[in-house]
Each structure stands twice: as C-alpha cells, then as structure tokens.
Amino acid sequence: MSSTPSSVNQSAGIGHEPTAAAQEPVLSVRHLRVEFPTRHGTLVALDDVSFDIAPGEVLGVVGESGAGKSMTGNAVIRLLELPGRIAAGEVHLSGKRIDDLPEEQFVPLRGRHIGMIFQDPLTSLNPLFSIGDQLVETIRAHLPMSEREAREEALRLLREVGIPAPESRLDSYPHQFSGGMRQRVVIALALAARPEFIIADEPTTALDVSVQAQILALLKRLCADHGTAVMLVTHDMGVIAETADRVAVMYAGRLIEIGPVDEVVRNPQHPYTKGLMASIPGIARRLERLYQIEGAMPRLAAIPPGCAFNPRCPHAQQRCRDERPDLMPAGGSRAACWLHDPVDPLPPRLDLEGQEVSHVR
C-alpha cells in the first residue's frame, strides 16, 4: 500500500514545490485559440490566450460571463462542448504537449494529472450511483488497487474532505447529502488520483455564502497539502483575493491582464481591470451608486478590431481601434494595453480617478 502511486506522487509534489516552481510550469498554455464553427460563420471563443501555472500555484481567472474563463478550463482538459474545437496554440502539461494527443491517450490524463471541479455540486454527481461506487470506480480507473483497497482509500478521502462518519455515508446516494457536503464529495473525487493540477470552475458559486468560505478553505488546504496547482475560475474577486496567488483577467475571449493577486487588485493596469476593481463594493467606501463600466462586453460574433475593449475604454485612441495589443509589462503585472507599450506608450486621455467619479451618477 505504501508504494501506491498516490503516495509517491503526493510526496514528490510537496518536495518539488519550491524549486520546480522556478524551473518548469505544471501547465503552460501558448496562443490558445478556440473556435465554434456555426452556420453564420466561425465564432472565436478564445483568442491567443497564453499563461503558465507553477506547481502548487493557485491562478485565479476572472471575467464577466462569456469572457472565456470556463472555456479556457474546458479547452485545457479537452471537454469543450461541440462543435467547439482548439483551432491553434499549444497546451503543455509538466513539459509534455497534450493538446495534440489522440483522445485515447488523453482520457487517462483526466483525473490522474488534470482534475476538474464544476460549478454545481447538485448536478455533478450521478444520482443513480452511491458516492462509494463513484469514488471506487474513479480510484480504480487510475490506481492499481483492489476493490477493498479502493474502498479504504475512498474512506480516507472522505475523511480528508471533512465528511463526518464516512463509514456510514459511503453507501449513501448524492441526494442524501447537502450542497456543501456534495461539493466536498466532488472535491474528493477530483483529487482521488492525486492530480498535480486541477481546474476549479466556479466551485462555490452555487453554494450558500456560509458554506462557500468552508469549501474554499478546504480546497486551498488540500491543494497546499498535496502541492496541487489550481486554476480557479470565478467571477468573484473576493474569492480570488482570498485564495489565488496570481490572477488572470479575461475579456471577450482574450487575456488582458495577468499578475500577482495583490498587484492586480490594488494597482490594476488595464483600463478594464481598473473598472472591474472600481465596481466592487467596499466597506470602506460609501457610495450612492456602484461604479459601472459603460456599455457591455461585445458578443463573440461582433468583437471590434484592435483592442476588444476599445469601444468602452475612456482612453481609446485610433491605435486601439487598429492594432490589437499583446500582454506587455505594466507595473507589477502584464497588461494588454497600448498605454503600457514599452516603445511608444499612448498618453492616457483622462485621469481615471476623475473618470471614475464622473461615472458615479
């Protein structure tokens, strides 16, 4: 039992963490492009998205609905809804390219190397199978264990995620658990084979506020214990601020800012990120009305040329309408905005503080 891959992997993950972080990212996404061919032409759902996640790191991914957050996770684990497909770019897992693997070779990676947690724990578990069955089948799909060993392992996992009296719950069915308990079971399932990387797609959105904090704390603790890297997809900046090490901001299928969480939250560089941060209600500030960014995110079929944010951006100039900016160093982060062009930065047209106030009507 002591030589099972799970324990080997676990100790390796912890041991490597400090050094490996500097050496090789556990996940590396390069110029990822996801397209949906439709009758009315091809929709580009993700456009030239590149980022890395270091071993053990938590990368928060934020953005509005439809910005491409979940799409990025689905593309990495290759569970895109049809007819969506990866049209260009590369995905590397621990240095090995995985986006071009045939499906048969990709299936064993899921769960074993890349885990995934979905938004709604009420629908993530198959209602017709006991949670013990679902755990045992997942464990046995990845690890060479007998039925009995797998059941022991399942008990251990349930205990680890904080299910009280797991012996008596193993043969229970999902409908016999509360939402928070089900999400614990989902986490146990996602971590059953000790993946080095998991995608958590809005893991707390469907839960009660009181349960959200518990689940986040659990996820954070387990991943820290096992050295698991996390891509945490959410639209809740509070969750990001509490949980993530770095944060990536997405807009209209593009990555527009990425950097350490403190930098991005305190000192956002992209005008969109600034607007996003300004629109979060705070206890310290007393406002008549919450700040909002004028306009709405463009539909995928109607993304403007140049910077996708230019129609809503207070600084937009001709260049923003003609050329698309790549990520450029900006303050402590990197932002895709011509204001930060290292060679020829655009002058900001307005002081954003003033602009922000003028928006508060």
Binding site: I77, L79, E81, E103, V107, P108, L109, R110, G111, R112, G115, M116, F118, D120, T123, S124, L125, N126, P127, L128, F129, S130, E137, T138, A141, H142, Y173, H175, Q176, V186, L189, A190, A192, A193
Partner: protein, 326 residues
C-alpha cells in the same frame, strides 16, 4: 417497500374492477345475444329459456356480481357462438399470441436499445443518420401495410418464408402449444414478429436516442469524463443507466400494446391467436369472448405497470428513500 407494494396492488385491483364494469356493460349495449343465437324463427318460450340459462333474467347488480366473481376465477361463461367455455377458447389461442408477442418484444427492445445507443453516440455518422431516417418509415407506416409488404417480398417474390399460419406446433404440458421447437414454427414466426415489433422498435430507438443525448449533456457525465473514466464506462454505465429510467416506462406500456395490437398482425398473417379470436367474436357479437379478451388485455397492462413500478424502485435510489410513504 411493503406499503408501496400493497398500495400498487390495491390500485391494480381497482383498475381491474373498473374494466370489469366496462366489460360487463358490453352485455347490455351490444345488441341482444339471444336474438342472434336463436334467429328469427324461435318462440318467446325458447328465448326465455335461453335467457334463464344464460342468467340474463336476473337483476343487473346480481349479474355483475356473478361476472366479477367468475372473472376472478378466470371463468367467463360460455361462448355464444361456439357454445364452449370461453376460458378454453382463450387458453387454446393464448400460446400463439404470447409467443408472437414475446419474440417481437425481445426483437423490439434489444434492437431498439442497441440502435438507440448507437445513433446517440455516433450522432454525426451517415449510418446513424440513415437509421434515423429509415426509422421514420417504421413510425409512419401502418402495421398491416408493413405485414403485407413483408409477405409480398419474402413469401411471394423470394418465397423464403411462409406467408401465413403458425407452422408445426409441439404440445407442452396440458394446454400449451409451441411453435418455437420446430423449424417451420420458427420460420413462420419471423415475418409476423418483425411486423408486430417494428413500430415499437423504432419508437424505443428514437426514445433511447433522445434520452441518451440529453443525459450525455448533463454535468455528471461531464464530471465522469473529467474524472478520467473511459468512454465505455461513461457511456454504458453512467449514461445508459440514467437513460433507462424514462425508457422503462415506455417499454412497459409498449409491451402491453404489442399484445393488444397483435390483433392486426394476427389478421394479416392468419395467426391463430387470441386477436383473431377477438375479431371473430366481434363479428358474431360473441359478448362473453369480447368481455374476456378485454379483461385479459387489462390484466396484462396492469401487471406490466406493476412490474415497471417495481423496476423503478430497483433502479432509482431517490425513490427507495421516500418510497414507503409516497
């Protein structure tokens, strides 16, 4: 569990009681059997004697009570036409109908589920599209036309299969005759079984496909795939079990209609079953046979429904928990 079972059995008994009432009312609304049996020349005394013999002179409530008591013992009186006990007539014909129904049910369920899974999983392949298009024909063509077409192609033109009858039969036990043990019996079964089962097959197939596509798009299937379970396990263990819950009900009801609709197939293929018996009974206003047939079909439906309810119970854990009280 026991409370659930008792409740369902009581419901079944109630349904049978209502059907008995309808069957019984046949005796009063479908003409006067005495006139039919004795013809124009009979005297009033003859008619009264026959009425008394058949129990038709007694009060309605007494007649109904007797009917129910007898029906509960599978006793439906004497056929007006052949003057033999109705139960004997039905038992004589029942094996032919049951064998035909069971074989076409197996054909419809096995092929229907199999093709349904195939067309759901290979949604975009040309073969799946072809099967779906072809299934429209199965749904829209009337049964008798399919039977006639099959007879024309396989019996008349190709001459490979018999066009009518049951072939040679072998007697098993007291009253059961089977065509399943002789070559000619089996050959005779093929065309009627396909005719009778084709509609159910296409229906089951389209239902399985639709349900499976819906299940395949659920979160728990996506999560099962994200956990790294193989395609086979995801499709045939997780998705199929969830698909079968609504499908079981429809299959159950369809099995009932297979027996009920056997009338048409039996007529086309001159199959010596209860359906053919019923058609003759209708023609001659043989009310006891009609009433017995009605009761038999109702019993089949009620029993199948009971079995479906119990299957639900076995498949869906959500019912098991609340089950007793529901």
């Amino acid at each position: 569990m026991l409370a659930f079972l008792i409740q369902r059995v009581l419901q079944a008994i109630f349904v049978m009681f209502v059907v008995a009432l309808i069957s019984f009312s046949l005796f009063h609304y479908v003409g006067d059997p005495v006139l039919n049996m004795l013809g124009q020349e009979a005297t009033e005394a003859d008619r009264a004697a026959l009425r008394a013999q058949l129990g038709l002179d007694q009060p309605v409530v007494v007649q109904f009570w007797k009917f129910v008591v007898n029906a509960a013992q599978f006793e439906f009186g004497i056929s007006y036409r052949s003057a033999r006990p109705v139960t004997d007539l039905i038992l004589e014909r029942l094996p032919a109908t049951l064998e035909l129904a069971i074989i076409s049910a197996i054909f419809a369920v096995v092929m229907g589920i199999g093709l349904g899974i195939y067309t759901a999983l290979r949604r975009r392949s040309w073969l799946a599209n072809f099967i779906m298009t072809a299934s429209l024909i199965g749904v829209s063509l009337p049964t008798f036309l399919i039977g006639v077409l099959l007879i024309y192609v396989f019996a008349v033109e190709l001459g490979v299969l018999p066009a009518f009858g049951r072939g040679e039969t072998v007697r098993l036990g007291d009253w059961w005759t089977t065509g399943l043990l002789t070559a000619s019996g089996l050959r005779s079964l093929i065309l009627p079984a396909i005719t009778l089962g084709l509609f159910q097959l296409t229906l089951i197939m389209r239902l399985v496909r639709a349900e499976m596509l819906e299940v395949l798009s659920t979160d728990y299937i996506k999560f099962a795939r994200a956990r790294g379970l193989s395609k086979r396990v995801v499709n045939l263990r997780h998705a199929l079990k969830n698909t079968m819950i609504p499908v079981i009900t429809i299959i159950g009801l369809q099995l009932g209609t297979i027996i009920a609709f056997a009338i048409i197939t039996e007529t086309v293929f001159q199959w010596p079953g209860v359906g053919a018996l019923f058609i003759t009974a209708v023609r001659f206003v043989d009310v006891p046979v009609m009433a017995a047939y009605l009761m038999m079909i109702a019993l089949v439906f009620v029993v199948i429904n009971l079995v479906v309810d119990l299957l639900y119970y076995a498949v869906d854990p959500r019912l098991r928990v609340q089950g007793g009280g529901k």
